[in-house]
């Protein structure tokens, strides 16, 4: 993997230009020839006027116009393509790189970034960056080359004509300023749009609730409020365009009047004004993009800043003081609240961590996973609320691996026994079932069980489950545990679970009872802790009252 994302903004732009230098050299050549051929046109138009007056129209070569049209067509097309191509390819490469970096980074390094933030960066920020290298660079080149070619030609013809461009340039500058000034409102408009969208999403999920309370009117009013705010911002942000766009034509007019005055004063011919106006329209196209260059560049720069922020957090040092290398994972030293605890694990058995809600079970089990990762152990860890990809159940279980052989058998068996066979008439159809966005088409409990199967078929030694049976009723739980305990393939695996249910605890081999202040309150084999007088049995008795 070539890393492109470690640089600062300017060095990155430079490196990018070097990476694709042959495209850019070609593009600059095309731009040069484009403007060169375009700059012949005003002279040609003037010539037309002169020849009419002197009645020499026959001397005009018609083919010249068509050659010019073709040259413009050719060079303009390629100047664009040669700028666009590297930008698009770069965008793809960068997106892929960030995806791979994210995939290999400990999730806690990017815990400050919500799913929405990641989406924004991968989709929008890289698009802004592409806009910068594909569009802003092109237009900067366009303006510079146009100026290099046009200015000497006009100067050679009549030096005073250069001055007559002032009103146009002034109007374009004013236009650019207006566009930039109103830009923040476009941003606000987008935010407000997101609010309206969010409101519709909420109304959708809550429609039943709304209808039951007959509160349609209140929600209608609320919708009008949100929508009204968005549309107001739309209107304000459109003011920038309303006043600025027609300014350009005004500038063209003013420049033309100025030039007409020069023509009259110096006693030049009317055809000289035709020559001038030819350049006026030619320069217009590159100038029009002046404001966008500013906007796109600042957006690209800001996007790069956000991307770098994400990269920086992915690269933060994740090795913590308490990390240690272990030969055996039967006694782990882990941080717990402001202390450390020594967590004893019984290998190749069922370990369960119990404790009150909020005592730190999830935190502890998270640290176990982190430590195993640090030691390159083979493990699979399923959180309390697992995520399902918008794909088939088979893809969600096998995660890109080919479903076959023993693993497929295990998956099928689990589907049948975990109560997932109800989802479709046959197991194969269950496997082929699409689960929808974040598993929307299956219930939360079913999604969780699919994730559990995912970790069972993964070829790992350690299986870590945070509260795996919370949304499963007691009978199904019993059934699941029975299957798992009996299966030969799973016997060699070490299970580490959290639970607050007696039914789960009763089925495990090793119990760790934790408490926020005291850390590990009690630890030992099930037979000791449940059947004899112990804090654990006391705890469950209390729960049952």
């Amino acid at each position: 993997m070539i890393s492109r994302l470690h640089r600062k903004f300017i060095p990155w732009v430079v490196a990018h230009s070097f990476e694709y230098w042959y495209y850019y050299i070609g593009a600059l050549f095309c731009l040069y020839f484009l403007h060169h051929f375009q700059s012949i046109l005003p002279g040609l138009a003037k010539d037309l006027g002169d020849k009419v007056m002197s009645d020499q129209l026959k001397d005009i070569e018609l083919s010249k116009f068509f050659y010019l049209a073709f040259a413009i067509l050719f060079f303009r097309t390629f100047s664009r393509l040669l700028f666009f191509y590297p930008a698009r390819v770069q965008q793809k490469n960068l997106r892929l790189e960030i995806m791979q970096r994210l995939e290999n980074a400990l999730p806690k390094t990017y815990s400050n970034f919500s799913d929405g933030d990641l989406f924004q960066t991968i989709v929008n920020d890289f698009n802004r960056l592409r806009g910068f290298i594909g569009f802003a660079l092109l237009q900067v080149g366009n303006i510079i080359i146009a100026a290099i070619i046009f200015v000497p030609k006009i100067k050679e013809f009549n030096e005073e004509f250069l001055l007559a461009f002032t009103p146009l340039v002034a109007c374009v500058v004013l236009f650019s300023i207006l566009v930039v000034v109103f830009q923040p409102f476009a941003r606000k408009n987008m935010d407000a749009y997101a609010d309206v969208q969010n409101f519709v999403i909420e109304s959708y999920s809550a429609k039943k609730t709304i209808k039951n309370f007959h509160s349609e009117d209140s929600f209608y009013e609320l919708f009008r409020k949100y929508s009204g705010v968005e549309l107001r911002y739309f209107f304000i942000s459109s003011l920038g365009r309303v006043f600025s766009f027609p300014l350009v034509k005004l500038g063209v007019g003013a420049s033309l009047i100025w030039a007409a005055l020069i023509v009259k004063r110096e006693g030049l011919s009317g055809t000289d004004l035709i020559f001038f106006s030819g350049f006026l329209y030619l320069i217009l196209e590159p100038l029009m993009f002046l404001s966008w260059i500013g906007i796109v560049t600042s957006q690209g720069y800001a996007a790069w800043g956000r991307i770098k922020k994400l990269i920086a957090s992915l690269e933060t040092n994740v090795i913590e003081d308490w990390y240690q290398k272990y030969e055996n994972f039967d006694k782990l030293q882990l941080p717990f609240w402001n202390n450390t605890v020594d967590l004893a694990i019984k290998l190749k058995s069922w370990n369960v961590i119990i404790g009150d809600t909020g005592s730190g079970k999830s935190y502890l089990i998270d640290k176990v996973a982190e430590l195993l990762r640090y030691n390159n152990a083979s493990y699979s860890y399923i959180k309390q609320e697992p995520y399902l990809y918008n794909d088939t159940i088979a893809e969600n279980i096998f995660l890109g691996e080919k479903p076959e052989g023993e693993k497929l058998d295990l998956a099928k068996k689990c589907i049948a026994e975990f109560g997932l066979d109800l989802l479709a008439p046959t197991i194969n159809e269950v496997l082929a079932l699409e689960v929808g966005e974040n598993g929307k088409k299956v219930s939360g409990g079913q999604a969780k069980r699919i994730a559990l199967i995912r970790s069972l078929v993964a070829d790992v030694d350690y299986i870590i489950w945070d509260d795996p049976f919370s949304s499963v009723d007691l009978i199904l739980e019993q059934q699941i545990i029975n299957v798992l305990k009996k299966d030969q393939r799973l016997k060699k695996k070490t299970f580490i679970l959290t639970s607050h249910r007696f039914s789960t605890v009763r089925a495990s081999d090793w119990i760790v009872f934790i408490e926020q202040n005291e850390g590990i309150k009690e630890v030992g084999p099930r037979s000791d802790l449940l059947e004899k007088e112990s804090l654990t049995s006391e705890y469950f008795k209390k729960q049952m009252v």
């Binding site: 129209l57 994210l102 027609p246 009317g270 499963v472």
Partner: protein
Amino acid sequence: MNILKNKWFDYIYIPNSKLLIFFIILALVSASVLGYYTPIIVSELYDGFDDGDSIMPILYALGGLYIGEYLASVVYQLGISRYVQKLLQHIRSKSYKKWILTYDSIGKGKFGSHNYPMGEVIARILNDTEAVIEMVSSGSFKIFIDFAFIISSLISFVRLNTVSGVALIIAEVLVCLALIIGSKQMGKVYMAVRKSTGHLNRSVANLSAGLRHTFHTPNESFASTKSKAAFEDFLKKQLTANIWDASYFAIAESLFPILLALLVIVFPYSNIVEMAIIAAIIDLIQRSITPIKEIASKISGIQRAKTGMDRILEFNEDLDTLPHSEDGDDLETIKDFKALSINVESFTYPSKGEETSAFELKDVKLTAKSGELVGIVGMSGSGKSTFLKILSTDILASNSLIKIERSKHSNIEFRGDNVEGMSTYKRQVSIVSQDSHVFSETLKFNITFGIGSEEEFEKFWNDVVSRIPYLEKWGVDPEEIVRPNDLSMGQKQLISALRSCYLKKPIVLFDEISSGLDSELEEALRKLVLLIQKNSLTVIVAHRVETIVNAGQILVMKDGKLDGVGTHSELLNENATYQEFISQVRMS
């Protein structure tokens, strides 16, 4: 056709906008007049170079022309922006209202707006109107005023020199047609890009959200492999589109020399001897190239907007055919509710295609009085949730009958196959479940839904705070905005229970959450149930024994049937399913 036209008019015309429309039309007319005088004044200017007179009056006229054009443009765009702002608010609100009034119930045939899943509703109400906004921001509306100007300029020029004027008109019309036809072809390419963009967005959203979860399981680089495919597809489609795009605009750019060539060709027939006419026509060509260049993209913008409007219209028309609640307060909550009885003879879920669902709800009955607490217990798959859904009319079971007894009026019957009638019943019910929604609005709004007065809410709030210590401990302020993501499941349930308590519906359905409640929250919820019970018949799907120990009756469900009915002590003695339930619950 006529009806459709009238409907269109209904959607595009907004009341009280006559003045706005007047200004828009005024601007268009002014632009045409200015356009008409432009070639005349330009040719006079060039004439003026040759004779000795001052050209100042002509330059003033020309300056006035340009300023007039600027003003007309500004007024026009201002009017359009304002109109679009009003129009969209009008259409969106209308669609939202229609949609919110329809019912989403499962039943036989086409019931409810299930044809419109969430993404579709957002698309119809928001994204489709967005196309109109885009028309403004991309300047598509500008094309009308630009063409008004150019067309009248061309007409005016024809009077100066017929042959070259007509030739120019013909050439420009042909060019416009060619560009529009070309852009139609491009439409397909762009559509492929749009599709691919959608795919890319969905893939990134889907995959990036899963990264944190699958990191800790061997995953064969699932996310990057899948996303790579989406990125590459997008790249391919986009590059193809770029080729079309770049060459399309290049063609537009090469129009100037081609139109000049046209002038050379028609010269021998046009009798032009004055340079002023040549200058005027070159000026005209230069002015008209930009609008012509833009015509295709603007027209596709207009088409997109029209498709958007068509879709909204279709959405609205479709919603009109669906069962919906009345827009008004004629269906009040029944004040003298005495008792409810429901009898579900049978219900099976509608089958999808070949699949047949084995589950059937059969002969489930319940009769209960106001103020009574009814418990429902059973294992997963016993049908208790389905029964609750029928009670709440989330499901309309055609073979079912609900009766409401009233103390001061005659009783009302609701048949499951009568959708319209059911809406009256629905209004008597409130549900507290895991699905009950909490909005990112103030807590007060979440409880009252904007119903009732300030004083009423204040009285209610002080009352519940004094009865439920948890609320004080939680420290929530009713005026504060609630963040649903920061709430635990129990807190959400508490808020929706407060809502039911405040709105005092005759029938309250309660789907208890099975785990994850701390003891204080559990106590708070239990107290609320007692408060609700005072005014209502309360039906609870229970997961804890404490909730139903004192219930007037408990329904035990098994395999879609009633397995037993009775009080806690009765069932404990004689019902095996209930005994099993209790022993399992006790153990957990």
